[in-house]
């Protein structure tokens, strides 16, 4: 049975390390902020002010109304170009515009078609441009001439803002990365410095060492979560529709899972360097690619779908998106939370078993 006073001694010492090591504080405070800001502004999935070249051959009321409809959105910006330059290929080649709109002579009278050419060297942007243009033209016409009139109702993120999508995702990614990094480094540092040897001579058990190491970082992880959440809401106007207590409870579970992952890493890595590489390797890319953050899990091949089951962020993403955007309560998140509890328990047990109370 783990002894509380010994765990306390280890945890207290760990707090001293944290408070006195500026590197830890940098990892805890600066890293998440930098990531949030860089990702937040760079990973913008929306397009705005797409340079558009308009070739208006009709020059009548209808064509001007259509062009106005394009200009009045934030999506397009009309690039003035001399008539002789109006050859789409050279426009795209010189990157003067990403799309051209040509309106035929009889537009508004006998002609109803307009032509849009899009530079698809970046297919995602091209897709977005097409969607925007279709939307503009659709609303310009007022209603669809054919029988079907689709009226979509977009829930939770009606403006389809990408910040709603990446801020919760970033909380998931940054937390797992930092928590795994911190615990694995803190244990491998003691191995490297030789202080672990001094601890191993004492009657302390493996589980006491691991618990003493994890406890202070749970608090730090939660603080980090609040920091990212706060800054994310402030900078990117992300809503928080759920209950704060629910957020704390489930974030605690996720932090715990991430810390246990770090413990597991530390039982393999012998040096701080190795621990750092391993912790980053197993958290960064898998979280980015396999958690459902960037790419929907349902569109992955079955093998990868199975693999996502062991990615803690997969569960936390459901949780955090649920809480922030949908206002989910415990009853909606129970299963994902349970998965995190099971993962933590398994990793802690394996780490305690693997942790060697003797030198090799």
């Amino acid at each position: 049975m783990p002894n509380l006073s010994r765990i306390h001694a280890i945890a207290q010492k760990e707090v001293f390390h944290i408070l006195r090591d500026s590197r830890t504080l940098v990892i805890i405070i600066l890293m998440p902020l930098l990531q949030l800001i860089i990702f937040g502004y760079a990973m913008n999935m929306e397009l705005g002010q797409v340079p558009l070249v308009v070739q208006d051959n009709a020059l009548n009321g209808a064509s001007r109304a259509l062009i106005d409809a394009f200009i009045h959105t934030d999506y397009f910006q009309v690039v003035p170009l001399a008539a002789k330059q109006l050859e789409p290929k050279s426009i795209f080649r010189t990157r003067k515009a990403q799309a051209t709109l040509s309106i035929p002579k009889d537009f508004g009278n006998s002609e109803t078609a307009v032509y849009l050419e899009i530079d698809a060297s970046d297919p995602n942007s091209a897709q977005l441009i097409q969607n925007y243009a279709t939307g503009i033209v659709g609303s310009f016409r007022g209603s669809v001439a054919a029988g079907i009139d689709l009226r979509p109702l977009i829930l939770y993120n009606p403006d389809m803002k990408s910040s709603f999508f990446f801020v919760p995702g970033l909380i998931a990614m940054i937390l797992v990365m930092i928590c795994a990094l911190l615990t694995s480094i803190s244990i491998s540092r003691e191995k490297e410095m030789g202080s672990m040897e001094q601890i191993l001579v004492s009657p302390v058990s493996a589980s006491e060492i691991l618990l003493g190491k994890v406890l202070p970082y749970i608090l730090l992880g939660l603080l980090d979560a609040l920091l990212i959440l706060g800054v994310g809401m402030l900078l990117f106007q992300v809503p928080f529709r759920g209950e704060f207590v629910v957020f704390l409870l489930f974030t605690f579970l996720y932090v715990l899972t991430s810390l246990c992952l770090g413990l597991l890493v530390s039982t393999v890595a012998k040096t701080q360097q190795a621990a750092m590489m391993m912790a980053l390797g197993i958290t960064l890319l898998p979280t980015l690619l396999l958690s459902g953050y960037m790419f929907p899990i349902s569109s992955m091949p079955p093998v990868l779908q199975k693999l996502t089951l062991v990615i803690p962020a997969r569960y936390y993403l459901q949780i955090i998106r649920g809480i922030m955007l949908k206002g989910n309560g415990v009853q909606h998140l129970f299963q994902a939370g349970l998965s995190l509890v099971i993962m933590s328990a398994v990793m802690l047990l394996v780490a305690a078993r693997r942790f060697k109370l003797r030198l090799s």
């Binding site: 001694a9 010492k13 410095m193 030789g194 040897e197 001094q198 001579v201 003797r358």
Partner: protein
Amino acid sequence: MIHTRDLVKEFGSFRAVDNINLDIAKGEIFGFLGANGAGKTTTIRMLCGLLLPSSGSITVDGLDIAKHSEGVKHKIGYMSQKFSLYPDLKAIENLEFYAGIYQVPFKKALANIRDVMDQFGLTDILSSSTGALPMGYKQRLSLVAALVHDPPLVFLDEPTSGVDPQARREFWQVINDLAQTGKSVIVSTHFMDEAEYCHRVIVMQDGREVVLGKPAELKDQHQAGSMQELFLRVLGENNAKSV
């Protein structure tokens, strides 16, 4: 206090410790002598439970180390060769930590180490940052940290390496006093003059015992004037035998 029977440690095909039999009494200062790689540190690590022996047995105060690991650990104080207190902690915080993991109330721990701290002149530097202390003080603090739980058995692995002669003398005065209070002190060293302070020594080479006994008697047996001479002579004889 501590007994070993046919103690062997193998790392792969390399025999680091080969059939060591020791009986160390209460209040005895027992020295491990030998060149680097002779097996001193490996033996000491097995004695304090950091390494499992490949074969053979160790009993500490009547307890088999393999069966009563936790009980034995309470009886052992260990100062490793490498300085391993936390440099970012204050001296007193380091002591508090070690008291904590041995479950000794800090007041009691301070009482346990008061005499040694006075002797070492450590009382004044307790609130200093450990990393900023001079080497000599770091070594003394390491020894004190190994004594917070008042262990009857103290292992010091090359405690005086990198310490000036004056400080080494002081160190040995403290070791002597610890033995006077009934603690068994097991010291490894490669300073031959220090061997004179030990009640008994074992000279090791290639993991094996070369000679074991009281310094004065060993010198007589081998007609050596000093421990240095004895050391070179017995190792020379041993080499000649094995050739």
